[in-house]
């Protein structure tokens, strides 16, 4: 009796799981399907491609602008992430471990920026960056990216740092460690997962941006991949770019999705730590 009730509950939960899987996967599979369709089949409207081809992928990787966009996205994303994580870690350490006036100001400013409408920055930044010669350059995008990645890193990391049992630092000192040894041998290994989480979240913010990328660039010099896609026209003027756009969309999505799936646990804890503390 109990066994049967248990198994029917399992079936119901399995159905719920299935709905969630369909929800998350169908739109992604549709993009993949579109990206492997032949030009003739693109407009057939079927979910499953009748014939597979790598043609669209070959075409986008033969496209200098898209490749350049990928390079820009990766480069700008990595540099922004690095900068945000380094200065964000410093600030988060101070917020989590030290007592000082201004602590709540730092947290408050971070919160404000996390909610700030980016468009309100686009107009003045457009003008300021043109005056400073930063328009359409890597630093021109890195600056806003770092700014908008910082709140996330500061919040994630300071929550993480607060969780570290700092008694371990004392224990290490009692075990004969110098302060530097205690930091390197005990605190850094414990903090590393938090830093990795913050880095992933920061990179996703940078990689996902579209507004700054199309507003603060004017050529492929600094235009990132998502912006480059929106300028796709197709191999020739008369060719429909649908297949290429789908392929490009898959290309910029796959690495991030793999990343997310691989670091699932950490991302979940990083994203939610702030909300729970409220």
């Amino acid at each position: 009796m109990a066994g049967r009730a248990g198994s029917s509950r399992r079936v119901r939960w399995a159905l719920a799981d299935l709905l969630v899987l369909l929800y998350a996967l169908v739109p992604v599979l549709w993009l993949v399907s579109l990206s492997v369709k032949t030009p003739a089949a693109v407009a057939d409207g079927s979910f499953v491609p009748s014939e597979w081809t790598w043609r669209n992928y070959r075409s986008i990787f033969g496209d200098g602008d898209f490749l350049r966009g990928l390079v820009n996205s990766i480069g700008i994303g990595l540099i922004s992430t690095l900068v945000a994580v380094v200065i964000g870690t410093m600030a988060a350490y101070a917020v989590a471990r030290l007592r000082f006036p201004g602590r709540s100001a730092i947290l408050g400013v971070s919160l404000l920026i996390a909610m700030f409408p980016q468009i309100s920055l686009v107009t003045p930044l457009f003008q300021i960056e043109r005056a400073l010669g930063l328009f359409n350059t890597w630093p021109g995008l890195i600056l806003p990216y770092v700014t908008f990645a910082l709140p996330l890193t500061i919040y994630t990391l300071s929550n993480f740092f607060q969780e570290i049992p700092w008694e371990l630092e004392k224990a290490a000192k009692m075990d004969g460690a110098t302060p530097l040894q205690a930091f390197c041998l005990v605190i850094v290994p414990l903090a590393a997962p938090g830093v990795v989480t913050a880095a992933i979240l920061a990179f996703i913010v940078c990689w996902n941006d579209f507004l700054f990328a199309i507003s603060l660039t004017s050529s492929s010099t600094a235009r990132t991949a998502p912006a480059a896609i929106s300028y796709f026209t197709g191999a020739s003027q008369f060719e429909d770019p649908t297949g290429s756009i789908a392929a490009a969309a898959v290309v910029i999505t796959v690495p991030i999705v793999l990343f997310v799936l691989f670091f699932q646990r950490r991302i979940v804890s990083g994203l939610t730590s702030g909300a729970v503390k409220g």
Binding site: R10, W13, D17, V20, L21, A24, L25, P27, W30, V42, A43, G45, F47, I87, M90, A91, A94, L98, R99, P101, V109, I113, M115, F116, P117, Q118, I119, S120, L121, V122, T123, P124, F126, Q127, I128, P144, V146, T147, L150, P151, F210, L211, I214, S215, P226, I229, A246, A249, I252, T253, I256, V257, L261, Q264, V268, L271, T272, A275, V276, G278
Partner: protein, 296 residues
């Protein structure tokens, strides 16, 4: 002796300030300065196509923007999209959170797969939705009666924008809510069950009140985030059929129209609306939280 101790405190403060300085400097330089600058620009006639005619014109830009039907249409569309998406996300996200938190089978798989929409680049997902609803090309358009082109009609287009927004951001909402579910002590639920509460009553009378702070925080974040919606609208309609959001219309005035004065005015107005929304939320949070905190 006391002086020595306060010297220690002083050095702690100094260290903290040095550690925070770079982050604070970047955040303030990249936001505060431009915001002030855009306030200045909003009081000028400044069209990059006619730079010679630049001059101070006081509040004229505000009059122009606030007197414009396009602006008000964008405001209402943005508010509509925001409210509807966030409400759907709350309900759907709660369902998703419960499945992720409680499911007996494949919990790890569900929790992982649900992150895919979160990880996907918004523009890429938007293109997927655009083609799905394009007549001929799309599998979803194929389900409609022939001759329909939903993205070229006002209400269907807005519905699709909401769909794209909801699909992409519900997982984030669900994750926050799942963290909130974890805050509800199992013992309280068991006690309620012993007291005769059924599943729905337990959810409504135990789980929801305990999750209130998390729900409000999630709503605040998502509301302000939805209010700046840009990528989905840009890709799906680019503002055609009266579907412009405030971000889209400001962008078009700046990059398309090269009108810095009007663009800045809109920037300032958007900033003010955001602040207003945040204020109402925080006031709501503030009114709601003391009781919640005392209970803990």
């Amino acid at each position: 002796m006391r002086r020595a101790l306060s010297a220690g405190e002083r050095s702690e403060r100094r260290l903290a300030w040095w550690l925070c300085a770079p982050a604070a400097l970047v955040m303030v330089l990249v936001t505060a300065w431009p915001v002030l600058y855009s306030v200045l620009l909003s009081f000028q006639r400044y069209d990059l196509r006619f730079p010679g005619r630049r001059e101070w014109i006081g509040p004229d830009n505000y009059a122009t923007v606030l007197g414009s039907g396009f602006w008000w249409s964008a405001v209402w569309v943005t508010l509509l999209v925001t409210v509807v998406s966030v409400l759907i996300e709350l309900v759907l996200g709660m369902a998703l959170a419960v499945v992720m938190y409680r499911t007996l089978v494949g919990r790890g798989l569900v929790r992982t797969v649900v992150l895919i929409p979160y990880g996907i680049v918004t523009v890429a997902a938007a293109f997927g939705w655009k083609y799905a609803w394009t007549p001929g090309t799309g599998w979803l358009a194929g389900l409609l009666p022939p001759g329909q082109a939903p993205l070229t009609e006002h209400w269907p287009a807005i519905a699709i924008i909401i769909l794209a927004e909801v699909w992409k951001t519900t997982p984030f909402m669900a994750l926050l809510l799942m963290a909130g579910l974890a805050l509800v002590p199992e013992d309280a639920l068991k006690a309620a069950a012993m007291d005769g509460a059924n599943a729905w009553q337990r959810f409504r009378m135990i789980t929801l009140p305990l999750m209130r702070p998390v729900i409000l925080a999630a709503l605040l974040f998502r509301t302000l985030d939805a209010f700046r919606i840009f990528d989905d609208v840009y890709v799906l309609t680019n503002g055609a059929q009266g579907t412009s959001s405030v971000s889209i219309i400001a962008y078009h005035n700046l990059i398309g129209g090269l009108n810095l004065g009007i663009g800045s005015t809109m920037s300032v107005l958007i900033f003010l609306i955001t602040a207003l929304i945040a204020f109402f939320f925080v006031a709501g949070l503030g009114a709601g939280s003391p009781a919640g905190k005392e209970r803990r």
